[in-house]
Amino acid sequence: MDLDLLQRLIALMKEGELTELEYEDEESKVRLSRKQDLALAGPAAPPAPAGAVAPAHGQPAAPAAARPETEAGVNLFRAPMVGTFYRAPSPEAEPYVQVGDRVNPESVICILEAMKVMNEIKAEMSGEIVAVLLESGEPVEYGQPLFKIRTA
């Protein structure tokens, strides 16, 4: 997917105060829809046709960390705190979980070290680990995705 092209299309829409744009060629097809530009000082925008629905206002809520988001049954498990990520209780030990493992809400799936304390992190859901997104020893910030877990 050509993100640069997309970006330029959006810029063009903004500049031209378009509300919709459809584009199709051999490789791809794109349809873009945009709200009316409220930024003034430009030339007058045409009035919207009667029957158009006025825009709804508001902002999507920030995703709460550690709350899994379902995407076709696959959830992102996010870090509930800042710390250093460890897959196992000690360097010699086996990882708590591997891809393919089944977990339940009480399963410890990793450790987040913070202030010299090893915090055992539980899966908080039942499902199958489908991806481990980082390596032992990596720092993580609050809300950072750690695992993908399929619950469906």
Binding site: A62, V82, M115, P139, V140, G143
Partner: protein, 451 residues
């Protein structure tokens, strides 16, 4: 100097510290909540770490998260800004135990500064005037009369366990004192289940005058003159200026010496602010010391040319304070206007939302400290201050003129957003402000009369 520090704060003060880091060549790691993820100062930092959800208790006040972030980012020091953990002795203690420099005074000093009674004791021992009072609870009506005669009328009776005005009475003679004593005790008993009452001399029509101090790692301590913060509403400062129009050179010298004497007596280190009440007769009384950088520090920077935040970092890094008292020269006059996203017509209720249009003033004598820009969304979780407008002129009259024209230029617009700009404009047109015939209750009286 530190190679890398962590900024454990948000908004304009996070940006202020980031600026000092940049100019000192220090790498800056900014921690932020989810609500501040998109803030531009976060993007400007060398590294940023999300430490929690928007609620301060789970992010900017969460010590384990901040310390973890500091460890993960491998910083040598933490700047706490103001508010949040800046005067939390426990946090400073945790930093120490983790071998991270806390950019502020040592935990013991913070603890003392946070204990008003202890701070007053130290002030008394250092020969710094405090508001005279009963040294604890008043035992009986006879005691009340005796102490009031000693300290002189009018006096203030306050509940020992109290707050919020309950169990509080003023008395200007023996009759009102005795009545007030009994009423205050009953109220205190009802409100706090403790009838104990203490007495203080009532400082009439006081001005709030505070001295900026700097103390080096070796204890060498100087002051950088005063700030007058008498324009306040419910102890929330709205306008601050330096120097104070109420001080002459002699009083300035004596108050400055008192501020330094107090700081020395409590073993102070780094930047701090010694607050006084000043009555109409030129008597001043120590209130407390703030063991952090203040919101209003730029007015001192404007008149002294000294960068206080850089000095905080230098002192924390062990660098000698090589400024002598005689090096500090006050040049001209500076005034700071706090621009808060609040609606003065609705009891100063915060007005969060998206800033659609922003025009900041500029030109000669104008400094703006702000983290906001057109497109910025003011989160609803934090302090409503969105900018500090600071003006400087060769004298107070010029500074006021610059303030007027800068406020006329300032524009903040967005759905639902109201600011304190109109109230600043109105205040600058008042003879009381122009002639500085104000005290700490002036703004509240003014707002009532013009409600």
């Amino acid at each position: 100097m530190f190679r890398r520090i962590l900024i454990a704060n948000r908004g304009e003060i996070a940006l202020r510290v980031l600026r000092a880091c940049r100019e000192l060549g220090v790498e800056a790691v900014v921690v932020h909540s989810e609500a501040d993820r998109a803030a531009r100062y976060v993007a400007l930092a060398d590294q940023s770490i999300c430490i929690g959800p928007p609620e301060p208790a789970r992010s900017y006040l969460d010590i384990p998260s901040i310390i973890s972030a500091a460890e993960v980012a491998d910083v040598e020091a933490i700047h706490p800004g103001y508010g949040f953990l800046s005067e939390n002795a426990h946090f400073a203690e945790v930093c120490r135990s983790c071998d991270i420099h806390f950019i502020g005074p040592p935990p013991e000093v913070i603890a003392v500064c946070g204990d008003k009674a202890k701070a007053k004791d130290i002030a008394r021992q250092a020969g710094v005037p405090v508001v005279p009072g009963s040294d604890g609870a008043v035992e009986s009506p006879d005691d009340a009369v005796r102490i009031a005669r000693e300290i002189g009328y009018p006096v203030l009776l306050k509940a020992v366990s109290g707050g919020g005005g309950r169990g509080m009475r003023t008395a200007s003679n023996e009759v009102s004192l005795l009545n007030g004593y009994h009423q205050a005790r009953s109220e205190a008993q009802l409100a706090f289940k403790d009838p104990s009452i203490y007495m203080e001399k009532l400082v009439e029509n006081p001005r709030h005058v505070e001295f900026q101090i700097l103390a080096g790692p070796d204890g060498h301590c100087i002051h950088l003159g005063e700030r007058d913060c008498s324009i306040q509403r419910r102890h929330q400062k709205l306008i601050e200026e330096a120097p104070s129009p109420a001080l002459d050179d002699d009083l300035r010298r004596r108050m400055g010496e008192a501020a330094v004497a107090f700081a020395r007596a409590c073993g102070y280190r780094n930047a701090g602010t010694v607050e006084f009440l000043l009555d109409t007769h030129g008597n001043f009384y120590f209130i407390e010391i703030n063991a952090r950088i203040q919101v209003e520090h730029p007015v001192t920077e404007m008149v002294t040319g000294v960068d206080l935040v850089k000095w905080q970092m230098r002192i924390a890094a062990g660098q000698k304070l090589d400024l002598r008292q005689e090096d500090v020269r006050i040049r001209g006059h500076a005034i700071e206007f706090r621009i808060n996203a609040e609606d003065p017509r609705r009891g100063f209720a915060p007005t969060p939302g998206r800033i659609e249009r922003l025009v900041l003033p500029g030109g000669p004598g104008v400094r703006v400290d702000t983290h906001v820009h057109a497109g910025y969304v003011i989160p609803r979780y934090y302090d409503s201050m969105i900018a500090k407008l600071v003006v400087h002129g060769p004298d107070r009259a010029s500074a006021i003129q610059t303030g007027r024209r800068a406020l006329a230029e300032l524009e903040v617009d967005g759905p639902g957003i109201q600011t304190t700009v109109p109230i600043h404009r109105t205040l600058l047109a008042q003879a009381e402000f122009v002639n500085s015939r104000v005290d700490t209750k002036y703004l509240e009286r003014f707002l009532e009369q013009n409600a």
